[in-house]
Symmetry: C2
Subunit: 169 residues, 2 copies
């Protein structure tokens, strides 16, 4: 069996991770695509967030990863007021079509930057941690941001599927 060189190890770590990230995004997007605009406006469970709120929340969070990883300015900072700082009001939201587009746009733009990173850059500090804190906790790196966001994609995917019709057992 061929032994991996150390640098190909890091490359394989990052490639494995990027593929898993892409798969989770794809699964979330598939659920969103399956749900019509009217269904998306419904609550995922009684008294819980609507689909449209969850979609807007995901767009805002993923758009926010861009500056957090030092990639530059985000596209839609105004979404935070609606979908992060304020709980679901059930109305007053951008239409579903525009959020569906933004979800794809924001992830496409982010993924391009992630794929262009050198493997060791995953281990660099993200912009929300100070240099001194990072020296003490080197796991607060870019990889950690994306792993945490990957779990977050799963979290809201698990809720969004409750808008799908229940298949008879």
């Amino acid at each position: 069996m061929e032994t991996l060189t150390k640098s190909s190890e890091s490359l394989l770590f990052s490639q494995t991770f990027l593929k898993a990230w892409a798969l989770q995004l794809k699964r979330f997007t598939q659920v969103v695509d399956e749900l019509g605009d009217e269904t998306l406006a419904n609550q995922t469970a009684p008294g819980r967030n609507t689909g449209i709120y969850i979609l807007g929340h995901m767009v805002a969070v993923h758009d926010g990863i861009y500056p957090l990883l030092g990639f530059g300015d985000r596209l839609y900072p105004e979404l935070d007021a609606l979908f992060i700082r304020t709980p679901d009001a059930g109305k007053g939201y951008p239409d579903a079509a525009s959020l569906r587009l933004k979800w794809k746009e924001v992830n496409q733009r982010l993924t391009e930057k992630l794929e262009a990173m050198d493997p060791h850059e995953w281990l660099d500090r993200h912009t929300a941690v100070s240099e001194s804190d990072f020296a003490k906790e080197p796991n607060r790196n870019k990889l950690n941001v994306i792993v945490t966001r990957l779990a977050h994609v799963g979290y809201h995917a698990g809720q969004l599927v409750y808008l799908k019709e229940k298949v008879q057992d």
Copy 2:
């Protein structure tokens, strides 16, 4: 700034990932711990899985990771019939107390093995992929199993929180 050697790079990849894994397990466990046995018996949304089914499902899936990563035999293979191969029947399940214990036991045992791995072992083949397939798709490694399961923890955590009382906005 100090430059990381290649071997410390792999170590940091695996350590970052292990901490993120531990955090997601801790969050899921916190939700389980907050819910009483009676609440756990309820459906997470109308017509959807009960909390007890989700907990049993998580125990079965995480117990199943053990042999998948080549660590040895699992503890509770009999749970698959109840919680993986069969949809929620709403009754006939082990009591909540025993599943709560098993959840912690299974993760403790798994985490010990994960923490004992050399960083490069994360990139090894898992037991459900053949050598020839692995040669073509080297991302089907142990890391990929755990990243996928991490998203899965998030998925069901997002559903389980629907059993918590809604905080007034």
